[in-house]
Amino acid sequence: MFINAVFIILFLLGFYALIVKKNLIKMVIGLNLMEAAVFFWVISFSDIGGEVAIHKLNEAAVNFNDPVPQALTLTGIVIGASTAALLLTLIIELNKFTDTIDRDEIEGLNN
Protein backbone atom coordinates (compact mmCIF):
# COMPACT_ATOMS: atom_id res chain seq x y z
CA MET A 1 0.00 0.00 0.00
CA PHE A 2 2.73 2.40 1.07
CA ILE A 3 4.72 1.43 -2.01
CA ASN A 4 1.81 2.17 -4.33
CA ALA A 5 1.19 5.54 -2.66
CA VAL A 6 4.83 6.56 -3.10
CA PHE A 7 4.78 5.33 -6.69
CA ILE A 8 1.66 7.33 -7.55
CA ILE A 9 2.90 10.50 -5.85
CA LEU A 10 6.31 10.33 -7.57
CA PHE A 11 4.78 9.50 -10.96
CA LEU A 12 2.23 12.33 -10.78
CA LEU A 13 4.91 14.75 -9.59
CA GLY A 14 6.98 13.88 -12.66
CA PHE A 15 3.94 14.13 -14.91
CA TYR A 16 3.09 17.53 -13.42
CA ALA A 17 6.60 18.81 -14.11
CA LEU A 18 6.44 17.46 -17.66
CA ILE A 19 3.09 19.07 -18.47
CA VAL A 20 3.05 22.33 -16.48
CA LYS A 21 6.65 23.50 -16.15
CA LYS A 22 7.94 25.79 -18.90
CA ASN A 23 11.63 25.30 -18.17
CA LEU A 24 13.06 22.60 -20.46
CA ILE A 25 15.48 21.29 -17.84
CA LYS A 26 12.65 20.95 -15.33
CA MET A 27 10.84 18.91 -17.97
CA VAL A 28 13.81 16.55 -18.17
CA ILE A 29 13.73 16.26 -14.37
CA GLY A 30 10.03 15.45 -14.57
CA LEU A 31 10.66 12.75 -17.14
CA ASN A 32 13.36 11.20 -14.97
CA LEU A 33 11.08 11.34 -11.93
CA MET A 34 8.48 9.36 -13.85
CA GLU A 35 11.08 6.75 -14.77
CA ALA A 36 12.41 6.68 -11.21
CA ALA A 37 8.88 6.09 -9.90
CA VAL A 38 8.45 3.08 -12.18
CA PHE A 39 11.86 1.64 -11.22
CA PHE A 40 11.18 2.21 -7.51
CA TRP A 41 7.87 0.39 -7.80
CA VAL A 42 9.39 -2.54 -9.68
CA ILE A 43 12.21 -3.02 -7.18
CA SER A 44 9.99 -2.66 -4.10
CA PHE A 45 7.31 -4.91 -5.50
CA SER A 46 9.77 -7.69 -6.31
CA ASP A 47 11.36 -7.53 -2.84
CA ILE A 48 10.12 -10.51 -0.86
CA GLY A 49 12.75 -10.25 1.86
CA GLY A 50 15.39 -12.44 0.29
CA GLU A 51 18.24 -13.68 2.49
CA VAL A 52 21.05 -14.32 0.02
CA ALA A 53 22.23 -12.76 -3.17
CA ILE A 54 21.49 -14.78 -6.29
CA HIS A 55 25.12 -15.56 -7.13
CA LYS A 56 25.74 -16.99 -3.63
CA LEU A 57 22.70 -19.21 -3.84
CA ASN A 58 23.13 -22.61 -2.19
CA GLU A 59 20.82 -25.44 -1.29
CA ALA A 60 20.39 -24.33 2.34
CA ALA A 61 18.95 -20.97 1.42
CA VAL A 62 15.28 -20.99 0.56
CA ASN A 63 14.38 -17.35 0.27
CA PHE A 64 15.89 -15.16 -2.41
CA ASN A 65 14.72 -12.19 -4.46
CA ASP A 66 13.96 -12.69 -8.12
CA PRO A 67 16.95 -11.28 -10.04
CA VAL A 68 15.09 -10.58 -13.28
CA PRO A 69 13.25 -7.40 -12.17
CA GLN A 70 16.55 -6.12 -10.79
CA ALA A 71 18.26 -6.79 -14.11
CA LEU A 72 15.42 -5.08 -15.96
CA THR A 73 15.62 -2.06 -13.69
CA LEU A 74 19.39 -1.79 -14.04
CA THR A 75 19.06 -1.78 -17.82
CA GLY A 76 16.21 0.70 -17.55
CA ILE A 77 18.35 3.03 -15.43
CA VAL A 78 21.15 2.90 -18.00
CA ILE A 79 18.72 3.72 -20.81
CA GLY A 80 17.16 6.50 -18.72
CA ALA A 81 20.56 8.03 -18.01
CA SER A 82 21.58 7.96 -21.67
CA THR A 83 18.32 9.47 -22.90
CA ALA A 84 18.51 12.18 -20.21
CA ALA A 85 22.07 12.98 -21.29
CA LEU A 86 20.97 13.15 -24.92
CA LEU A 87 18.06 15.45 -24.04
CA LEU A 88 20.33 17.77 -22.02
CA THR A 89 22.81 17.95 -24.92
CA LEU A 90 19.96 18.92 -27.24
CA ILE A 91 18.88 21.62 -24.75
CA ILE A 92 22.43 23.02 -24.71
CA GLU A 93 22.46 23.00 -28.54
CA LEU A 94 19.10 24.74 -28.63
CA ASN A 95 20.25 27.31 -26.10
CA LYS A 96 23.06 28.30 -28.47
CA PHE A 97 20.49 29.19 -31.14
CA THR A 98 17.77 30.77 -29.03
CA ASP A 99 19.44 32.04 -25.80
CA THR A 100 16.59 30.66 -23.75
CA ILE A 101 15.38 27.40 -22.21
CA ASP A 102 11.78 28.55 -21.80
CA ARG A 103 9.39 26.34 -23.71
CA ASP A 104 7.01 29.23 -24.49
CA GLU A 105 9.70 31.42 -26.01
CA ILE A 106 10.89 28.76 -28.47
CA GLU A 107 8.50 28.85 -31.41
CA GLY A 108 9.23 25.44 -32.85
CA LEU A 109 8.17 23.63 -29.67
CA ASN A 110 4.70 25.20 -29.58
CA ASN A 111 2.18 23.50 -31.74
Binding site: E35, S82, T83, L87, L90
Partner: protein, 514 residues
Protein backbone atom coordinates in the same frame (compact mmCIF):
# COMPACT_ATOMS: atom_id res chain seq x y z
CA UNK B 1 24.98 -23.48 -23.17
CA UNK B 2 25.77 -21.81 -26.40
CA UNK B 3 24.19 -23.51 -29.35
CA UNK B 4 25.49 -23.36 -32.89
CA UNK B 5 22.13 -23.95 -34.48
CA UNK B 6 20.97 -21.14 -36.76
CA UNK B 7 23.75 -18.88 -35.57
CA UNK B 8 23.38 -16.96 -38.83
CA UNK B 9 20.35 -15.20 -37.34
CA UNK B 10 22.73 -13.34 -35.03
CA UNK B 11 24.76 -12.15 -37.99
CA UNK B 12 21.83 -10.07 -39.24
CA UNK B 13 22.01 -8.04 -36.02
CA UNK B 14 25.69 -8.29 -35.09
CA UNK B 15 27.10 -7.40 -38.50
CA UNK B 16 25.65 -3.86 -38.63
CA UNK B 17 26.17 -3.44 -34.87
CA UNK B 18 29.89 -4.22 -35.08
CA UNK B 19 30.25 -2.29 -38.31
CA UNK B 20 29.55 0.94 -36.40
CA UNK B 21 32.74 1.03 -34.25
CA UNK B 22 34.83 -0.39 -37.13
CA UNK B 23 33.69 2.50 -39.34
CA UNK B 24 34.77 5.00 -36.69
CA UNK B 25 38.20 3.33 -36.41
CA UNK B 26 38.71 2.94 -40.16
CA UNK B 27 37.88 6.60 -40.69
CA UNK B 28 40.92 7.54 -38.60
CA UNK B 29 43.15 5.34 -40.74
CA UNK B 30 41.98 5.83 -44.30
CA UNK B 31 38.84 7.40 -45.67
CA UNK B 32 38.75 5.24 -48.76
CA UNK B 33 38.92 2.07 -46.67
CA UNK B 34 35.93 3.30 -44.63
CA UNK B 35 33.97 3.98 -47.79
CA UNK B 36 34.56 0.46 -49.09
CA UNK B 37 33.72 -1.07 -45.73
CA UNK B 38 30.38 0.79 -45.51
CA UNK B 39 29.23 -0.54 -48.88
CA UNK B 40 30.60 -4.02 -48.13
CA UNK B 41 28.80 -4.24 -44.80
CA UNK B 42 25.51 -2.98 -46.24
CA UNK B 43 25.61 -5.44 -49.13
CA UNK B 44 26.60 -8.32 -46.82
CA UNK B 45 23.55 -7.68 -44.63
CA UNK B 46 21.33 -7.75 -47.69
CA UNK B 47 23.09 -10.88 -48.95
CA UNK B 48 22.52 -12.78 -45.68
CA UNK B 49 18.77 -12.17 -45.70
CA UNK B 50 18.35 -13.06 -49.37
CA UNK B 51 20.54 -16.13 -48.88
CA UNK B 52 18.32 -17.20 -45.98
CA UNK B 53 15.30 -16.66 -48.19
CA UNK B 54 16.61 -18.77 -51.07
CA UNK B 55 18.17 -21.47 -48.89
CA UNK B 56 14.81 -22.13 -47.21
CA UNK B 57 12.69 -21.48 -50.28
CA UNK B 58 10.77 -24.77 -50.22
CA UNK B 59 10.00 -24.43 -46.49
CA UNK B 60 8.79 -20.89 -46.98
CA UNK B 61 6.55 -21.99 -49.82
CA UNK B 62 5.01 -24.66 -47.64
CA UNK B 63 4.54 -22.10 -44.87
CA UNK B 64 6.52 -24.17 -42.39
CA UNK B 65 9.63 -21.99 -42.34
CA UNK B 66 11.00 -21.36 -38.87
CA UNK B 67 14.47 -20.62 -37.50
CA UNK B 68 15.38 -20.13 -33.89
CA UNK B 69 18.55 -19.26 -32.05
CA UNK B 70 18.76 -19.64 -28.27
CA UNK B 71 21.61 -18.69 -26.01
CA UNK B 72 21.10 -19.44 -22.35
CA UNK B 73 23.66 -18.41 -19.82
CA UNK B 74 24.50 -21.74 -18.15
CA UNK B 75 20.92 -22.60 -17.35
CA UNK B 76 20.18 -19.26 -15.72
CA UNK B 77 16.94 -17.37 -16.13
CA UNK B 78 18.47 -14.98 -18.66
CA UNK B 79 17.97 -16.24 -22.20
CA UNK B 80 18.70 -14.55 -25.50
CA UNK B 81 16.23 -15.79 -28.04
CA UNK B 82 15.92 -14.82 -31.69
CA UNK B 83 13.45 -16.41 -34.02
CA UNK B 84 12.45 -15.95 -37.61
CA UNK B 85 9.15 -17.04 -39.08
CA UNK B 86 7.48 -16.03 -42.33
CA UNK B 87 6.22 -12.73 -40.94
CA UNK B 88 9.61 -11.59 -39.67
CA UNK B 89 11.30 -12.85 -42.83
CA UNK B 90 8.98 -10.71 -44.97
CA UNK B 91 9.79 -7.60 -42.93
CA UNK B 92 13.48 -8.46 -42.66
CA UNK B 93 13.76 -8.77 -46.45
CA UNK B 94 11.98 -5.48 -47.11
CA UNK B 95 13.99 -3.63 -44.48
CA UNK B 96 17.38 -4.92 -45.63
CA UNK B 97 16.59 -3.98 -49.22
CA UNK B 98 15.53 -0.46 -48.28
CA UNK B 99 18.44 0.08 -45.88
CA UNK B 100 20.92 -1.09 -48.53
CA UNK B 101 19.56 1.32 -51.15
CA UNK B 102 19.43 4.20 -48.67
CA UNK B 103 23.06 3.62 -47.64
CA UNK B 104 24.18 3.60 -51.28
CA UNK B 105 22.29 6.87 -51.74
CA UNK B 106 23.92 8.35 -48.61
CA UNK B 107 27.43 7.77 -49.96
CA UNK B 108 26.96 10.65 -52.36
CA UNK B 109 24.47 12.73 -50.35
CA UNK B 110 26.26 13.17 -47.01
CA UNK B 111 29.16 15.59 -47.32
CA UNK B 112 30.44 16.06 -43.75
CA UNK B 113 30.75 14.08 -40.49
CA UNK B 114 30.52 10.97 -42.62
CA UNK B 115 31.97 8.46 -40.17
CA UNK B 116 29.59 9.56 -37.40
CA UNK B 117 26.65 9.39 -39.78
CA UNK B 118 27.35 5.85 -40.98
CA UNK B 119 28.10 4.60 -37.46
CA UNK B 120 24.72 5.86 -36.24
CA UNK B 121 22.98 4.59 -39.35
CA UNK B 122 24.34 1.07 -38.90
CA UNK B 123 23.37 1.10 -35.23
CA UNK B 124 19.81 2.00 -36.23
CA UNK B 125 19.85 -0.77 -38.83
CA UNK B 126 21.01 -3.27 -36.20
CA UNK B 127 18.28 -2.17 -33.77
CA UNK B 128 15.66 -2.47 -36.50
CA UNK B 129 16.74 -6.02 -37.42
CA UNK B 130 16.89 -6.88 -33.73
CA UNK B 131 13.37 -5.72 -32.97
CA UNK B 132 12.08 -7.71 -35.93
CA UNK B 133 13.90 -10.93 -35.02
CA UNK B 134 13.58 -10.98 -31.25
CA UNK B 135 11.33 -13.51 -29.52
CA UNK B 136 11.59 -11.87 -26.15
CA UNK B 137 9.76 -8.79 -24.82
CA UNK B 138 12.67 -7.32 -22.90
CA UNK B 139 15.06 -7.51 -25.84
CA UNK B 140 12.32 -5.93 -27.93
CA UNK B 141 12.13 -3.05 -25.44
CA UNK B 142 15.91 -2.64 -25.60
CA UNK B 143 15.91 -2.52 -29.40
CA UNK B 144 13.00 -0.04 -29.49
CA UNK B 145 14.87 2.25 -27.10
CA UNK B 146 17.95 1.76 -29.26
CA UNK B 147 16.06 2.94 -32.32
CA UNK B 148 14.88 6.06 -30.45
CA UNK B 149 18.30 6.92 -29.04
CA UNK B 150 20.25 6.34 -32.26
CA UNK B 151 17.83 8.16 -34.58
CA UNK B 152 17.77 11.33 -32.46
CA UNK B 153 21.33 12.46 -33.36
CA UNK B 154 20.57 11.62 -36.99
CA UNK B 155 17.53 13.94 -36.94
CA UNK B 156 19.59 16.82 -35.55
CA UNK B 157 22.44 16.00 -37.92
CA UNK B 158 22.44 19.42 -39.60
CA UNK B 159 22.50 21.28 -36.25
CA UNK B 160 20.14 24.16 -36.88
CA UNK B 161 17.47 25.50 -34.56
CA UNK B 162 14.70 23.69 -36.43
CA UNK B 163 16.37 20.27 -36.43
CA UNK B 164 17.34 20.51 -32.75
CA UNK B 165 13.76 21.32 -31.77
CA UNK B 166 12.44 18.46 -33.90
CA UNK B 167 14.95 16.00 -32.41
CA UNK B 168 14.07 17.11 -28.90
CA UNK B 169 10.36 16.67 -29.42
CA UNK B 170 10.98 13.27 -31.06
CA UNK B 171 13.08 12.14 -28.10
CA UNK B 172 10.51 13.34 -25.52
CA UNK B 173 7.72 11.35 -27.09
CA UNK B 174 10.03 8.40 -27.76
CA UNK B 175 10.98 8.24 -24.06
CA UNK B 176 7.35 8.49 -22.92
CA UNK B 177 6.41 5.69 -25.33
CA UNK B 178 9.32 3.65 -23.98
CA UNK B 179 8.21 4.13 -20.36
CA UNK B 180 4.69 2.90 -21.25
CA UNK B 181 6.19 -0.15 -22.96
CA UNK B 182 8.35 -0.84 -19.90
CA UNK B 183 5.32 -0.64 -17.57
CA UNK B 184 3.49 -3.15 -19.76
CA UNK B 185 6.28 -5.71 -19.87
CA UNK B 186 6.97 -5.43 -16.14
CA UNK B 187 3.26 -6.06 -15.45
CA UNK B 188 3.47 -9.14 -17.65
CA UNK B 189 6.52 -10.35 -15.76
CA UNK B 190 4.90 -9.91 -12.34
CA UNK B 191 1.78 -11.75 -13.48
CA UNK B 192 3.33 -14.59 -15.46
CA UNK B 193 6.99 -14.75 -14.46
CA UNK B 194 8.18 -14.82 -18.04
CA UNK B 195 9.07 -12.39 -20.79
CA UNK B 196 9.16 -14.77 -23.75
CA UNK B 197 6.50 -13.84 -26.28
CA UNK B 198 5.42 -17.46 -26.78
CA UNK B 199 5.10 -18.22 -23.04
CA UNK B 200 3.23 -14.96 -22.48
CA UNK B 201 0.83 -15.92 -25.26
CA UNK B 202 0.10 -19.23 -23.52
CA UNK B 203 -0.46 -17.73 -20.11
CA UNK B 204 -2.20 -14.49 -20.99
CA UNK B 205 -5.70 -15.85 -20.38
CA UNK B 206 -4.78 -16.62 -16.75
CA UNK B 207 -4.25 -12.95 -15.92
CA UNK B 208 -7.19 -11.20 -14.25
CA UNK B 209 -9.46 -9.08 -16.44
CA UNK B 210 -8.56 -5.56 -15.23
CA UNK B 211 -4.84 -6.39 -15.43
CA UNK B 212 -5.25 -7.60 -19.03
CA UNK B 213 -6.91 -4.31 -19.89
CA UNK B 214 -4.11 -2.32 -18.23
CA UNK B 215 -1.42 -4.23 -20.13
CA UNK B 216 -3.23 -3.82 -23.46
CA UNK B 217 -3.81 -0.10 -22.90
CA UNK B 218 -0.18 0.63 -22.03
CA UNK B 219 1.04 -1.30 -25.11
CA UNK B 220 -1.46 0.60 -27.24
CA UNK B 221 -0.47 4.00 -25.84
CA UNK B 222 3.19 3.23 -26.48
CA UNK B 223 2.63 2.08 -30.07
CA UNK B 224 0.18 4.89 -30.93
CA UNK B 225 2.84 7.40 -29.87
CA UNK B 226 5.50 5.62 -31.93
CA UNK B 227 3.28 5.24 -35.02
CA UNK B 228 2.13 8.87 -34.92
CA UNK B 229 -1.62 8.15 -34.85
CA UNK B 230 -3.88 11.19 -34.58
CA UNK B 231 -3.94 12.65 -31.05
CA UNK B 232 -0.17 12.29 -30.64
CA UNK B 233 0.95 12.81 -34.23
CA UNK B 234 2.42 16.33 -34.21
CA UNK B 235 6.03 15.27 -33.53
CA UNK B 236 6.12 13.12 -36.67
CA UNK B 237 6.03 15.71 -39.50
CA UNK B 238 8.60 17.84 -37.70
CA UNK B 239 11.01 14.98 -37.07
CA UNK B 240 10.59 13.42 -40.52
CA UNK B 241 11.13 16.69 -42.35
CA UNK B 242 14.02 18.12 -40.35
CA UNK B 243 16.60 15.40 -41.02
CA UNK B 244 18.73 14.77 -44.15
CA UNK B 245 16.82 13.08 -47.00
CA UNK B 246 18.17 9.51 -46.50
CA UNK B 247 17.30 9.65 -42.80
CA UNK B 248 13.79 10.85 -43.67
CA UNK B 249 13.48 7.86 -45.97
CA UNK B 250 14.63 5.58 -43.15
CA UNK B 251 12.22 7.09 -40.61
CA UNK B 252 9.16 7.33 -42.82
CA UNK B 253 9.77 4.40 -45.12
CA UNK B 254 11.28 1.80 -42.81
CA UNK B 255 10.81 2.65 -39.13
CA UNK B 256 7.04 3.11 -39.25
CA UNK B 257 6.77 -0.37 -40.80
CA UNK B 258 8.88 -1.81 -37.98
CA UNK B 259 6.44 -0.40 -35.42
CA UNK B 260 3.60 -1.91 -37.46
CA UNK B 261 5.41 -5.25 -37.27
CA UNK B 262 5.76 -4.91 -33.48
CA UNK B 263 2.05 -4.05 -33.35
CA UNK B 264 1.23 -7.28 -35.19
CA UNK B 265 3.60 -9.36 -33.06
CA UNK B 266 2.10 -8.07 -29.84
CA UNK B 267 -1.59 -8.00 -30.72
CA UNK B 268 -1.84 -11.08 -32.88
CA UNK B 269 0.86 -13.49 -31.74
CA UNK B 270 1.24 -12.58 -28.09
CA UNK B 271 -2.11 -11.15 -27.02
CA UNK B 272 -4.76 -12.89 -29.06
CA UNK B 273 -6.74 -10.42 -31.17
CA UNK B 274 -9.99 -11.75 -29.66
CA UNK B 275 -9.21 -9.76 -26.51
CA UNK B 276 -9.24 -6.53 -28.48
CA UNK B 277 -12.58 -7.43 -30.04
CA UNK B 278 -14.02 -8.53 -26.71
CA UNK B 279 -13.00 -5.29 -25.00
CA UNK B 280 -14.30 -3.21 -27.97
CA UNK B 281 -10.83 -1.74 -28.42
CA UNK B 282 -10.45 -2.84 -32.04
CA UNK B 283 -13.36 -0.71 -33.28
CA UNK B 284 -12.01 2.22 -31.28
CA UNK B 285 -8.53 1.87 -32.83
CA UNK B 286 -10.08 1.54 -36.28
CA UNK B 287 -12.02 4.80 -35.88
CA UNK B 288 -8.96 6.54 -34.47
CA UNK B 289 -6.79 5.31 -37.33
CA UNK B 290 -9.34 6.41 -39.93
CA UNK B 291 -9.61 9.89 -38.41
CA UNK B 292 -5.83 10.00 -38.31
CA UNK B 293 -5.66 8.95 -41.96
CA UNK B 294 -8.12 11.62 -43.09
CA UNK B 295 -6.48 14.34 -40.97
CA UNK B 296 -3.03 13.41 -42.25
CA UNK B 297 -4.14 13.88 -45.86
CA UNK B 298 -5.94 17.15 -45.05
CA UNK B 299 -2.91 18.57 -43.24
CA UNK B 300 -0.76 17.59 -46.20
CA UNK B 301 -3.04 19.64 -48.44
CA UNK B 302 -2.27 22.91 -46.66
CA UNK B 303 1.47 22.29 -46.19
CA UNK B 304 3.83 24.50 -48.16
CA UNK B 305 6.98 22.60 -47.19
CA UNK B 306 7.66 19.69 -49.52
CA UNK B 307 9.07 17.25 -46.97
CA UNK B 308 6.45 18.10 -44.34
CA UNK B 309 3.79 17.36 -46.94
CA UNK B 310 5.34 13.92 -47.52
CA UNK B 311 5.46 13.28 -43.76
CA UNK B 312 1.78 14.18 -43.32
CA UNK B 313 0.94 11.87 -46.20
CA UNK B 314 2.80 9.11 -44.29
CA UNK B 315 0.42 9.67 -41.35
CA UNK B 316 -2.45 9.20 -43.78
CA UNK B 317 -1.08 5.93 -45.18
CA UNK B 318 -0.11 4.43 -41.80
CA UNK B 319 -3.59 5.23 -40.45
CA UNK B 320 -5.12 3.42 -43.40
CA UNK B 321 -2.92 0.32 -42.91
CA UNK B 322 -3.70 0.21 -39.18
CA UNK B 323 -7.44 0.54 -39.88
CA UNK B 324 -7.46 -2.30 -42.39
CA UNK B 325 -5.50 -4.56 -40.01
CA UNK B 326 -8.32 -4.16 -37.48
CA UNK B 327 -10.69 -6.06 -39.79
CA UNK B 328 -8.77 -9.21 -38.81
CA UNK B 329 -9.43 -11.34 -41.90
CA UNK B 330 -7.35 -12.70 -44.74
CA UNK B 331 -8.38 -10.14 -47.37
CA UNK B 332 -7.55 -7.28 -45.00
CA UNK B 333 -4.14 -8.72 -44.14
CA UNK B 334 -3.34 -9.19 -47.81
CA UNK B 335 -4.10 -5.53 -48.58
CA UNK B 336 -2.22 -4.31 -45.52
CA UNK B 337 0.92 -6.35 -46.24
CA UNK B 338 0.96 -5.32 -49.87
CA UNK B 339 0.54 -1.67 -48.91
CA UNK B 340 3.32 -1.97 -46.32
CA UNK B 341 5.68 -3.07 -49.11
CA UNK B 342 4.31 -0.46 -51.51
CA UNK B 343 4.48 2.40 -49.03
CA UNK B 344 8.02 1.42 -48.03
CA UNK B 345 9.20 1.71 -51.63
CA UNK B 346 7.16 4.80 -52.51
CA UNK B 347 7.92 6.90 -49.43
CA UNK B 348 11.63 6.02 -49.51
CA UNK B 349 11.72 6.91 -53.21
CA UNK B 350 9.88 10.20 -52.67
CA UNK B 351 12.07 11.31 -49.76
CA UNK B 352 15.25 10.35 -51.63
CA UNK B 353 14.13 12.29 -54.70
CA UNK B 354 13.31 15.24 -52.43
CA UNK B 355 16.96 15.19 -51.38
CA UNK B 356 18.04 15.23 -55.02
CA UNK B 357 15.66 18.09 -55.85
CA UNK B 358 17.03 20.03 -52.87
CA UNK B 359 20.43 20.07 -54.61
CA UNK B 360 18.95 21.96 -57.58
CA UNK B 361 16.25 24.02 -55.86
CA UNK B 362 18.06 24.96 -52.65
CA UNK B 363 14.88 24.82 -50.56
CA UNK B 364 11.86 22.64 -49.92
CA UNK B 365 9.36 25.50 -50.07
CA UNK B 366 6.78 25.19 -52.84
CA UNK B 367 7.71 28.56 -54.43
CA UNK B 368 11.35 27.52 -54.81
CA UNK B 369 10.38 24.46 -56.82
CA UNK B 370 9.15 26.60 -59.71
CA UNK B 371 10.39 25.27 -63.04
CA UNK B 372 12.37 22.41 -61.52
CA UNK B 373 10.63 19.94 -63.82
CA UNK B 374 12.37 21.54 -66.79
CA UNK B 375 15.78 21.56 -65.18
CA UNK B 376 16.19 17.86 -64.43
CA UNK B 377 13.64 16.24 -66.63
CA UNK B 378 14.33 12.56 -66.09
CA UNK B 379 14.66 12.63 -62.30
CA UNK B 380 11.54 14.71 -61.97
CA UNK B 381 9.75 12.36 -64.36
CA UNK B 382 10.66 9.48 -62.02
CA UNK B 383 9.42 11.56 -59.10
CA UNK B 384 6.07 12.14 -60.85
CA UNK B 385 5.70 8.39 -61.44
CA UNK B 386 6.27 7.65 -57.74
CA UNK B 387 3.74 10.38 -56.86
CA UNK B 388 1.17 8.76 -59.14
CA UNK B 389 1.87 5.44 -57.41
CA UNK B 390 1.25 7.01 -53.99
CA UNK B 391 -2.01 8.51 -55.23
CA UNK B 392 -3.04 5.10 -56.54
CA UNK B 393 -2.90 5.29 -60.33
CA UNK B 394 -3.04 2.01 -62.24
CA UNK B 395 -0.87 0.16 -63.19
CA UNK B 396 1.54 1.11 -60.40
CA UNK B 397 2.06 -0.80 -57.16
CA UNK B 398 0.26 1.82 -55.06
CA UNK B 399 -2.92 1.20 -57.01
CA UNK B 400 -2.84 -2.56 -56.50
CA UNK B 401 -2.40 -2.34 -52.74
CA UNK B 402 -5.02 0.39 -52.33
CA UNK B 403 -7.42 -1.65 -54.45
CA UNK B 404 -7.08 -4.66 -52.16
CA UNK B 405 -7.52 -2.48 -49.08
CA UNK B 406 -10.67 -0.97 -50.59
CA UNK B 407 -11.99 -4.46 -51.43
CA UNK B 408 -11.34 -5.60 -47.86
CA UNK B 409 -13.24 -2.62 -46.45
CA UNK B 410 -16.17 -3.19 -48.82
CA UNK B 411 -16.25 -6.90 -48.04
CA UNK B 412 -16.39 -6.08 -44.34
CA UNK B 413 -19.17 -3.54 -45.02
CA UNK B 414 -17.15 -0.68 -43.52
CA UNK B 415 -18.36 1.98 -45.91
CA UNK B 416 -16.98 4.92 -43.93
CA UNK B 417 -13.52 3.31 -44.08
CA UNK B 418 -13.87 2.75 -47.82
CA UNK B 419 -14.92 6.38 -48.20
CA UNK B 420 -11.83 7.54 -46.26
CA UNK B 421 -9.58 5.43 -48.52
CA UNK B 422 -11.05 6.93 -51.70
CA UNK B 423 -11.17 10.44 -50.25
CA UNK B 424 -7.56 10.14 -49.12
CA UNK B 425 -6.49 9.25 -52.65
CA UNK B 426 -8.46 12.19 -54.06
CA UNK B 427 -6.91 14.65 -51.59
CA UNK B 428 -3.49 13.14 -52.34
CA UNK B 429 -4.08 13.83 -56.03
CA UNK B 430 -4.62 17.50 -55.23
CA UNK B 431 -1.62 18.01 -52.98
CA UNK B 432 0.79 16.25 -55.32
CA UNK B 433 -0.63 18.14 -58.30
CA UNK B 434 0.01 21.42 -56.47
CA UNK B 435 3.73 20.65 -56.46
CA UNK B 436 3.88 19.04 -59.90
CA UNK B 437 2.10 21.94 -61.60
CA UNK B 438 4.46 24.36 -59.85
CA UNK B 439 7.44 22.35 -61.06
CA UNK B 440 6.29 22.45 -64.68
CA UNK B 441 5.46 26.17 -64.60
CA UNK B 442 6.83 28.12 -67.58
CA UNK B 443 10.23 29.65 -66.85
CA UNK B 444 12.80 31.58 -68.85
CA UNK B 445 14.57 29.34 -71.40
CA UNK B 446 18.08 29.64 -69.89
CA UNK B 447 16.90 27.79 -66.81
CA UNK B 448 15.92 24.74 -68.84
CA UNK B 449 18.37 21.92 -69.39
CA UNK B 450 19.97 21.78 -72.81
CA UNK B 451 18.28 18.92 -74.61
CA UNK B 452 16.76 15.51 -74.14
CA UNK B 453 19.73 13.78 -75.72
CA UNK B 454 22.08 15.39 -73.20
CA UNK B 455 19.82 14.19 -70.40
CA UNK B 456 19.89 10.64 -71.70
CA UNK B 457 23.66 10.80 -72.23
CA UNK B 458 23.97 11.57 -68.52
CA UNK B 459 22.04 8.41 -67.73
CA UNK B 460 24.95 6.34 -69.03
CA UNK B 461 27.15 7.55 -66.19
CA UNK B 462 24.78 6.10 -63.64
CA UNK B 463 27.46 4.63 -61.41
CA UNK B 464 29.50 7.81 -61.09
CA UNK B 465 29.48 9.62 -57.75
CA UNK B 466 26.93 12.36 -58.29
CA UNK B 467 24.69 10.27 -60.53
CA UNK B 468 24.34 7.64 -57.81
CA UNK B 469 21.59 9.63 -56.11
CA UNK B 470 19.35 9.80 -59.15
CA UNK B 471 20.15 6.16 -59.96
CA UNK B 472 18.71 5.04 -56.61
CA UNK B 473 15.58 7.11 -57.29
CA UNK B 474 15.26 5.34 -60.67
CA UNK B 475 15.66 1.98 -58.94
CA UNK B 476 12.73 2.73 -56.63
CA UNK B 477 10.68 3.96 -59.61
CA UNK B 478 11.40 0.81 -61.59
CA UNK B 479 10.52 -1.36 -58.59
CA UNK B 480 7.15 0.38 -58.30
CA UNK B 481 6.41 0.00 -62.01
CA UNK B 482 7.66 -3.61 -62.12
CA UNK B 483 5.72 -4.80 -59.09
CA UNK B 484 2.67 -2.85 -60.26
CA UNK B 485 2.47 -5.09 -63.31
CA UNK B 486 3.57 -8.26 -61.58
CA UNK B 487 2.47 -7.96 -57.97
CA UNK B 488 1.88 -11.74 -58.08
CA UNK B 489 5.53 -12.08 -57.01
CA UNK B 490 4.43 -10.75 -53.62
CA UNK B 491 1.73 -13.42 -53.36
CA UNK B 492 3.93 -16.13 -51.90
CA UNK B 493 5.76 -14.14 -49.17
CA UNK B 494 2.63 -12.17 -48.27
CA UNK B 495 0.36 -15.19 -48.08
CA UNK B 496 2.81 -17.15 -45.95
CA UNK B 497 3.23 -14.13 -43.66
CA UNK B 498 -0.56 -13.98 -43.29
CA UNK B 499 -0.56 -17.61 -42.09
CA UNK B 500 1.40 -16.44 -39.03
CA UNK B 501 -1.22 -13.81 -38.25
CA UNK B 502 -4.18 -16.13 -38.76
CA UNK B 503 -2.61 -18.99 -36.86
CA UNK B 504 -0.43 -17.68 -33.99
CA UNK B 505 -0.47 -21.09 -32.33
CA UNK B 506 2.10 -22.29 -34.88
CA UNK B 507 4.68 -19.72 -33.76
CA UNK B 508 4.05 -20.52 -30.08
CA UNK B 509 4.44 -24.27 -30.60
CA UNK B 510 7.60 -23.89 -32.65
CA UNK B 511 9.31 -21.51 -30.21
CA UNK B 512 8.51 -23.61 -27.16
CA UNK B 513 9.10 -26.92 -28.88
CA UNK B 514 12.42 -26.24 -30.58
Amino acid sequence: MMSWMNIELNLLILLPAFSAPIILILDRINEKLRKIFVILSASLSLYFVTALFFANFTDIKKGSFFLQYTFDYFGGPFIINFSMDNLSLFFSLLISMAVFLIIIYSTSYIKYNKAKYYALFFLVAASIQGSVLTADLFTMYLFIEGITVFTTPLISFKKTEKTTEAAMQYLYYGIIGGVFFFISIILIYFNLGTLKIAETALGFSEISGPMQLTIIIFFLLSLIIKLGIFPIHFWLPKAHSACPAPVSALLSGVLLKVYLYIFMRIFWTMISFDYLIELHISTFIMDLALVSSLLGHIFALQEDDFKKMLAYSSIGHIGMILAVLMLNNQAAFYGAMLHIAAHLMMKSGLFLSSGYLLRTAGSHHIDELEGIGHKNRITFGAFVIICLGTIGMPPLLGFVSKWYILLAFLKGKHFFAALVTVLGSLIALFYYLRYISKAYAEVSPELKSASWSADFAELLHFLKGDQLMSTIVYVFTLLIIFFGFSFQYFDMPVNTAIIELLNPQKYIDLVLGG
